[in-house]
């Protein structure tokens, strides 16, 4: 109930906020590499341009290089090769304290010997901001993160969610060129995480600066981001909006990492307007074939569970749809929908279809036909 009023109160730009912060800073990585001398580089020739004011998420499994990339941007790691530029200015060799980037850490990293107010004032004191202005900006930013009245508390007296709000306030109070967030919600429980996601999105909207967010949680990435850069073994697998990555994955890795998918490995190049899987022949819309060189070597058909229909009667399949015979292996009631687990084809590989929660027509062991419209499938590089 107070969020909207707080937004209204904080919306007029504070006089102290320069226009550059309002518009955000462009971060350009070119050929960024970090090699620890192991079998393969931790970050391998990553190039990525993060637009001013964009919320960019670096997503990937652990060890994929996303955190190392963030640390390279922050300056906590030194580049093996490549360049990092903020608004065109190379910062690759600057120490972290000269890069003017705010950072949030998973464990909050609040100074335990300082009060909330002293923590938030820390970057302003470093910048020799006059005392009365420090007091004003600290109060302002604590209002923005909805923690007024706690300024004389020590971090240990606050809950995890409150501590992260303080850390957020401290990281944005000095109008940094960009905010780097290193799995900041990882230590919080599920409900709190949802609330803080909303907070971070709101603050991103209000502050308008560039956010670079690292997470291994695909749901979090989808909820928050303007764009996602998906990392895999030190390289960027694919960059795009959450919708692009979910609806139009280029590779099997992307398709599997974001959401559930039914994968039919073609075992060969996907060419022409037909695809053969086991003894099924499916039609292929050329617009659904990923523009990825790997497709020409080895393709796979990906269909999301929510695009799959199932029916007992093979005649019920819509004209032009691609179909496959399957047996119901199991049913999962999820409240808002029902997932039907399928044994698909001769190989009885696992498939999933999402049906209406009220649809109770299927039982374990039923022989069914699973089908989907060709424009809903995606041909990716396997």
């Amino acid at each position: 109930m107070t969020i909207s009023s707080k937004v209204a109160a904080a919306a007029p730009a504070p006089a102290s906020t320069p226009d550059s912060a309002r518009q955000g800073t462009q971060i350009r990585l070119s050929g960024v590499t970090k090699d620890y001398g192991l079998a393969s580089p931790a970050v391998d020739a990553v190039s990525l341009t993060i637009q001013p004011g964009e919320f960019m998420t670096l997503l990937g499994p652990s060890g994929s290089g996303k955190t190392t990339t963030l640390n390279l941007i922050a300056g906590f790691e030194t580049l093996s090769s490549g360049t990092i530029a903020l608004d065109g200015a190379d910062v690759g060799t600057l120490p972290p304290h000269k890069r003017n980037l705010g950072m949030l850490f998973q464990n909050y990293a609040l100074f335990p010997h300082m009060t909330v107010a002293q923590n938030v004032a820390y970057p302003l004191r470093e910048r020799k901001v006059p005392k009365d202005e420090i007091a004003r900006r600290v109060a302002e930013v604590l209002e923005l993160v909805q923690l007024p009245g706690r300024d004389q508390n020590y971090p240990s007296q606050l809950s995890g969610g409150q501590q992260q709000r303080v850390a957020l306030a401290r990281a944005i109070v000095f109008d940094p060129a960009a905010l780097l967030l290193d799995e900041p919600l990882g230590a919080l429980d599920r409900n709190l995480r949802g609330a803080l996601q909303m907070e971070i999105r709101r603050i991103h909207r209000e502050v308008g600066s560039t956010f670079v967010f690292v997470t291994h949680d695909q749901e979090e990435a989808m909820n928050l981001s303007d764009r996602i850069a998906l990392f895999n073994t030190g390289r960027i697998e694919q960059v795009g909006t959450p919708e692009e990555l979910y609806r139009r994955p280029d590779t099997l890795f992307t398709a599997r990492f974001l959401g559930d998918s039914n994968v039919f490995d073609l075992g060969e190049a996907a060419v022409g307007t037909q695809a053969t899987w086991e003894d099924h022949i499916w039609s292929v819309d050329p617009a659904t074939v990923a523009e990825h060189p790997g497709v020409k070597a080895h393709g796979a058909v990906v269909v999301r569970p929510e695009d799959v229909r199932i029916s007992h009667d093979p005649q019920a399949v819509a004209p032009g749809a691609n179909a496959v015979r399957a047996t119901v292996r199991d049913l999962e009631y999820m409240g808002s929908y029902r997932t039907v687990m399928l044994d698909v084809g001769h190989s009885r590989q696992l498939g999933r279809a999402r049906i209406d929660a009220l649809d109770a027509a299927f039982a374990v062991g039923d022989e069914v036909t699973a089908w989907w419209k060709p424009e809903r499938q995606r041909i990716v590089a396997a």
Partner: protein, 270 residues
């Protein structure tokens, strides 16, 4: 409160023999002090216990005799300077070694700790021989350097322990907020390891303040510390002034050891 009570009940009753052993050990430690302090207030000119009459004449003697006063002043001066050097060197070493891992760090740590396990007389002879060549015997600088070396291991150990609970992400946070490394050290690291630094400094001070073996080798007619003067007094004069000076040493050392406890209790009330 309930938790404390439950814990009390959970513990077995303490057996009588354990109490007896504990009391004996405590007496063994306290007894010398219990004898020396009353002795220092005796009016007799020879050692007698228990004293028949009480007076402050030995304290008067101590505080009016320039030899005793000079050596007390020397002891304070040496101990303060030695503790200062040991604290700076030991803290720097602990912070530096904390970031290093591997064989080199282990070797350096052992090297810095070596004076703790070397017999005092060995250190004393080695210091004496080298200081003779460098003309440092009988000088303030000589005492300070030798005692500082003895104090470094104490600081190293206590600061290393304090750093064990220090989260290095705080330094990254500080850097991201615009603080250069030295400012981060002063504003973040130092306040959080200060108890370790103070504890180390106190141990270094006390180690120097009552160090006698090296001091005996380095003494000269113009410069000697309180323990050396006490040794002289016992071997040549044997008068109860020494019990007054002993009591003073006990009081000084006790007060200094109480400092971190006071700091600790003040922290807790916050």
């Amino acid at each position: 409160m309930t938790a404390a009570r439950r814990r009390e009940r959970g513990v077995d009753p303490i057996p009588w023999w354990l109490i007896a052993v504990g009391t004996l050990v405590a007496l063994y430690f306290i007894l010398p002090t219990l004898i020396v302090i009353p002795l220092s207030f005796s009016s007799a000119s020879a050692f007698e216990f228990p004293p028949k009459d009480f007076s402050l004449r030995w304290y008067e003697n101590f505080f009016t005799d320039p030899v005793w006063l000079k050596s007390l002043g020397n002891s304070f001066l040496v101990a303060i300077l030695a503790a200062l050097i040991a604290t700076v060197v030991g803290t720097a070493a602990a912070v530096g070694l904390n970031r290093l891992t591997g064989r080199l760090a282990g070797f350096l740590r052992t090297l810095l700790m070596i004076s703790m396990v070397t017999p005092a007389i060995v250190v004393a002879v080695a210091v004496y021989i080298s200081f003779l060549q460098w003309h440092l015997t009988g000088s303030l600088l000589g005492y300070v350097l030798a005692h500082a070396a003895l104090g470094v291991p104490f600081v190293l150990v206590s600061v290393t322990t304090a750093l064990g609970g220090f989260d290095s992400t705080l330094l990254r946070a500080s850097a991201s907020l615009g603080a250069p490394p030295l400012r981060s050290f002063l504003r973040v690291t130092m306040p959080l390891i200060s108890r370790g630094v103070i504890t180390g400094a106190i141990f270094a001070f006390v180690t120097s303040f009552d160090e006698v073996v090296i001091a005996l080798f380095l003494r000269s007619p113009t410069f000697q510390t309180l323990p050396v003067q006490m040794y002289n007094s016992v071997t040549f004069e044997l008068d109860p002034t020494i019990s007054a000076s002993s009591s003073l040493v006990v009081v000084v050392v006790t007060i200094i050891f109480l400092v971190p406890l006071l700091i600790g209790s003040r922290k807790k009330t916050r």
